[in-house]
Symmetry: C2
Subunit: 244 residues, 2 copies
């Protein structure tokens, strides 16, 4: 199992090369404060180096951002594939091992998750490609689930994959709010335990007890006399869930 970092139980931040220390510090600060608000000087200090060394290694602040993008994508995206694969197993031992590994690396994962959230919100060079890849992963997962009868066949696979990706990412992008509401870090055992069942409940039973809303929306969409051009959509602005 190639683990989260090339150094899994990993060298303390003071060990690695200065280049790696600067990159990790940049991921931490970019993720916490955003790209614009994190200064080269602050990153250099957090990495135990001089501002000049930062630019010596990465050319410019933008070059540093690209290096962080690449590193975070490589680490998290590789892990995502593996977790998705392992998570597809109904072997509870495999599940438990995967989650255990996640929790064990929580400290190293959290800055990268913060960074990923920023990537997807700020317009960045790598963010769009990453998002597309995640949507494609979701689509593959749904296709596989449908193929062996474990999932419903969605009416619109592309959009459903998009929605599933969005919903999954919302935990990461709004991690601060999740952690605050649930009283612990996102990757803490307590928070994960609290989230697991309601999430799966939502994904297996849905929210609505019957198909009334769905049918009503279908009818409204087919209705040629509809308001502007179409009706009922729950999450369009700040509305999040439809009434019945």
């Amino acid at each position: 199992m190639r683990s989260v970092g090339s150094a899994a139980t990993g060298p303390a931040p003071s060990d690695a090369t200065a280049r790696a220390r600067i990159r990790d510090a940049a991921i931490e600060l970019f993720g916490r404060d955003g790209y614009a608000a994190a200064s080269v000087r602050a990153i250099a200090e957090a990495g135990g180096a001089s501002p000049a060394l930062v630019l010596h290694h990465f050319g410019s602040k933008e070059g540093l951002r690209r290096a962080c993008d690449e590193h975070v994508v490589a680490e998290l995206f590789g892990m995502n594939s593996r977790v998705l694969a392992d998570g597809a197993s109904d072997d509870t031992a495999t599940l438990r091992r995967t989650i255990g590994e996640l929790l064990a690396h929580a400290a190293q994962l959290r800055p990268m998750i913060d960074y990923l959230g920023r990537m997807l919100v700020d317009p960045g060079p790598t963010a769009d490609a990453l998002f597309d890849a995640l949507v494609e992963q979701s689509a593959d997962m749904i296709r596989a689930g449908v193929a062996d009868g474990q999932m419903h066949e969605p009416g619109d696979l592309d959009v459903t994959a998009l929605l599933v990706t969005l919903h999954g990412l919302s935990n990461l992008v709004l991690q601060r709010q999740v952690a605050r509401r649930l009283g612990g870090e996102l990757l803490s055992p307590a928070v994960i335990a609290r989230l697991t069942l309601p999430t799966l409940e939502l994904y297996t039973r849905g929210l609505y007890a019957d198909e009334r809303v769905l049918d009503a929306a279908r009818a409204a969409l087919a209705d040629p006399t509809r308001a502007d051009r179409h009706p009922t959509d729950p999450q369009s602005t700040d509305e999040r869930t439809p009434g019945p």
Copy 2:
């Protein structure tokens, strides 16, 4: 119907008082570029004023942020309540009217939605209270839905309300990605039409065809020999949806 702005069909940006023009320009730029990356000078220019006037009216850049927070929260949150209420109606005419109004004000809404997304990601003074209020609204909606039998009774209402809020906000926070993938603005008729049915499908049928995953997770959570402290959770890191 108190509409989106105190000026619904609204005065062109050049009409309003300079204070309002500056505030609107700030919402636009804060939302598009983030708080740190949007300079007072750029905001002043976009609002057709001098940088000094910005601080004359709002005291400081942080004061301007507070004014924007208040304004956006008042506009969007009020509208959210109304839309949630109207959306709870099974009268298709009401639904159509609500959506039509949303679309009509899309141009005025979009900057505020961008701003709201930034608010929730950056640590800001108002963001936490707003998020809590949204979760509470979701909880109320679920309670009402359960009361009249339109929704399932969730095992953990608080967490389910949190999840529903997160999922709904993901469309707004990651609006850029949604718009890019679906080839149009989030509040455009085409995008809304494309999103509506898959969203409701997910909320009424769920993703999984049976309760296998849910049962497995329940068993694993109860299992005392679980990995670190608990098992199976789908969305913990960058994993978004569980395989069965």
